[in-house]
Each structure stands twice: as structure tokens, then as C-alpha cells.
Amino acid sequence: MTNFGKKAETKLSDINTNPSDTVTGTPKYQLSALATDQLTLGEVIGQLVWIKRRQIMREVAVIGIGQTKFGRFPEIRAEQLAQEAVGAALKDSGIPAKDIQVAYTARSRQASTDSQIILKSFGIVDREMINVQNACAGGSTAVHCLWKDIAYGIYDLGIAIGVEDMNYPKDHPISQQQGKALSGSGAGAAEDLEATMGRTMPALFAMIARRQMDVYGATREDFAQVAVKSHRHACLNPYSQFQKELTLEEVLSSRMISDPITLYQCCPVSDGAAAVILCSMDIARQYSSRPVRILGSALLSGDYSFRAEDMTILDVNIKTAEKAYKMAGVDPKDLDVVEMHDAFAPEEIMHYEELGLCKRGEGAALLRSGATALGGRVPVNPSGGLISLGHPLSASGVRVVVDIARQLRGQAGNMQVPNAKMGLAQMQGGAVTGLRAAACGIQILAI
């Protein structure tokens, strides 16, 4: 232990060892430059690695965005949807397709060779291509991995694609299996104990909602209001699956799915694709005088639920957000617009709290205040969100980045948040026995 400490001391001149602590067998080291409290050697090294990483990291820009309309397209296959999104992103960026150095494609149903299949028709072959899955956070994972490649200098320019085709023609063999696959248990359900026992995704979020009601006094009307807001926003979005306003009464009286969640509080079964082209800032400046910057990107897997304080908060979202905020050097108060996972309406209220848009237990109050609607302090899901824009699973994590970039460029049309300068894109994925939420990805963007 002592040798280890001394070794570190010679390397890091500003670390002072405290001999008295070493005697007691619990060596503690203080980094005078950083520490407010006593830090362990591991923590000091962690801080220094963090500082070093920040020095190495390059700034990454979003240079191209594209998406398809989301909806029910049983006759259109994933390949075609993704190619439409890729074509749009390439056109938007202005870069020639051959400049793409690396590609990540996320798709929940199948991800074996999607990048290759999608990109071969653009003349993009013979490159590093990675196909990823991470439940609904698959798209976020693709964006995050591409961001890492560019931030750490492995590549200068690449594409992240998210695509899902969930509706098939009736006679298609997949339609026969689909009843099971889409019963809401999620991918990998056959092996997951809770999923086998009937814990569907709507049931999980219904149980969370029930606790929100019990612990914080959230009401059925609050949950329904999320859906009313989302549907109102979706009417302004040309890409959305639903373009019809709903009243509170219509949402509340729609078919019960998992008490207290009704049909119009659930995301639909959607087809669609989204793509983003990222590059280093020096390249971005050649194409745009005001490129959208990625200030922070983080991806985490879920922690054990026995460590969680309560079901009304998903730790993985809190921790991923903290990581992204720290990297970006910003505060939740700095955000002008947020796009988030709202597969089921009660979730949105929970995520307000996890992302720090309000204090714990005040999510319902924030919604009621109107702050998260278009025209409010920090509009959440101006796109219409998963509930109304639609949720082609792996496309959503890429789509939220597309939406935030569009907002920051001031190109969001009727759903534009006036003068938006900074936004956050969040996507959560999956549920695993003992962990609850399986993954969360967050990107913070600014212009």
C-alpha cells in the first residue's frame, strides 16, 4: 500500500500523503488543488484521469440530421426506411457519402449486418461498421459510440443510424411471432424471470405510476395530461404518427392497458428511422458557421434495484444525467428544450425529476405549471414524444438527437422553441429483473 502511495506521490506533485492515516491502516490522500474533503487515492486518480481525458477530447459537432415520417408502414422494410433517413442526413450535411469513415446502426429486432445492408447503396463499404442493440436506448448507444470515436480521435466523421420496422403485412411470418414479441415483455424476455412472470413494460410503468400516486400525490389526470400535451405537440410535427389533438376526457376514457395507464398514454407500434452525421469541430466549421455542438454524451447500464431508494425514480437516468451535465459543464437550469423517453405517460413526470428539471416529488407540479409544454420555460418533447410522434424502438435514441439539433438550428417549424440554445436528448431502454431499467443514453447539445 505504502509503495503504491509513494509511487503516486512522485507522479502527482500536488498530492499530500497523511502519514498518520497510513498508520491506522486506512491510507487517505488529499489533493489540495481539487479536494474539498478527504479523497482516497482511487478518487484522486479518477479525478486526474478525468482531467487528462478532457484535455485529449475533441469537440464533436452534429453536421447532418435526417429522419423518416414515423407511422404504420407494413409494406416498407427497415432497409428502405433507414436509407431514406441516411439520404436525408447526407443531403443535410452537404458532405459526400464517401467521406463517412465509420458507421453504427441500432435496431432492436435484428442488428446482424444492418449498417452494411443500409449503406452499400450509398457506395459506403469497406469501412469499420458496427451494429448495436441496447433495447430502446439502442439509438442513443449508436450516437454515443460514434461520439466517442470522434471525441477521442479514432475517426473524424461518421454516421449513427437507428431504425425499426415493427409493422408487417398480415401474411408475413414475422406477424405470427409478433404477438409474443410485442406483448410488451421486451427483448430477451424468454430468459428474464420477471418478464416470464408477466411483468410487461406497461405493467412496470403502471406500478411506478401507482407509487407516484401513493408517495407524491400524482393523479390519473396528471398522467393523462402528459398525453394531451404530447398529442398537441405532435400535431405541429410533420413526422409524427398521430396528428390529432385529444382531450383529457378522451385520454382517461380510452381502453385500460395496465391500471392506471390507458391506451392513449402508451406509445404506438411504429416504423421509422433516423440518422445523424457527426464530425470533429474543425471539419464542421468547413461546412457550417454555426454547427451544433455535443457538449456531453453519456451511457450507463442500470444498477441493482436493491440499491435504489424508490421505484418512482430510476437511478440510471439520474446517474447518466449527472455524468452528461458534468462533462458539458452545465446545469439543468441551462436547458431550453428536452426530448425524452415517454413510452408511457407517467414516465415523463418521473424523468423531469431524474434529469433535474425540478426537485424530487415535484414532477407533477412542474407539468401542471405548464413549464414543459411548448411556450413554457423548458418544453419537453415538443416533437410529440414517443406517445404521439411514435416509437420505432432503436430509431428513437437517434431521433431525439435529430430533434434537439433541429431546435437549436431554429429549423423546427411550428414546434420551434423560440431562441433555443441548449437541449438534452435522453433515451432509456429495457427492463431486467433486479436492475429495472437496463440502459440510459443522454446527449447534451448546444449552439
Partner: protein, 131 residues
């Protein structure tokens, strides 16, 4: 006659003292696991785990009635999480008892029951109902 097969091995036992769930506990940090932690304590990485029996009674943590089907259950079916010591909560199918509507915090009691049929076998698992 249909054979009774447990949904998984080493999840529960039943004898004269009634049904219990089988979990394990870390000898170092005391964390309890269900299903059992397989090789080490996943909380503190300690190697010694001891088997424990528990779960006859717990408190209802949250619940819902699912109105859409899952792989093995036809709607409507009540289900929920039941809470035990060490912040362990277990998802289970629930059974309604007349005059005792589900309420967060109410005391729940374990029983074993057929969950579904498969290949001529009855798949047996645990369920909870209000005490």
C-alpha cells in the same frame, strides 16, 4: 396426470411449514438476494453466501391489473411487487381476496400455484395474496 414442474430450480420450497422462497445472504455485507446470487455477493464481491428461506409474508410495494396479455398470462391479471427486508422487492402474480382490495403497504402472503401449462406439464410458481 399432468406433471408439476417448478418454473425454475431453487426459487422456492414447500413442506409442512408451508411455502418459502429461497434466496441467499452475503456473510459480509448482509445483502439478501432473490433469485440467489450465483457465485459471489454482487453487492460487495464477498465470496461467502449462505442460503436463506424467506418470503412467507411481505408488504405490497406496488400493483396493477394488466389488461393486455403477456407471454403466459391472459388478461386481466393482477400483479405487483412485494417488499422484504434489505430493500428486496419481488415481482409476482397476485390473487384477489374478497373484501381486501389491493393497497400499497398491505400485508401479503405467499402461496404456490399453477402459473401456466406447457407441453402437458403444469408450471408451478409463487404468488401472493392479501393476508
Amino acid at each position: 396426470m399432468a406433471q408439476q414442474v417448478p418454473i425454475r430450480k431453487e426459487l422456492f420450497v414447500e413442506d409442512l411449514h408451508g411455502p418459502r422462497l429461497i434466496g441467499n445472504r452475503c456473510k459480509a455485507c448482509g445483502q439478501v438476494f432473490f433469485p440467489k446470487a450465483k457465485t459471489i455477493c454482487v453487492n460487495c464481491y464477498h465470496k461467502e453466501l449462505i442460503d436463506i428461506e424467506f418470503g412467507q409474508k411481505g408488504k405490497l410495494y406496488s400493483f396493477t391489473t394488466a389488461e393486455v396479455p403477456s407471454d403466459h398470462f391472459a388478461p386481466p391479471y393482477p400483479c405487483g411487487y412485494v417488499m422484504f427486508d434489505n430493500n428486496v422487492n419481488i415481482f409476482s402474480q397476485l390473487e384477489e381476496v374478497k373484501g381486501k382490495p389491493f393497497k400499497i403497504g398491505m400485508e401479503m402472503e405467499l402461496f404456490l400455484d399453477k402459473l401456466w401449462e406447457e407441453g402437458g406439464n403444469e408450471i408451478i410458481g409463487y404468488k401472493y395474496k392479501p393476508v
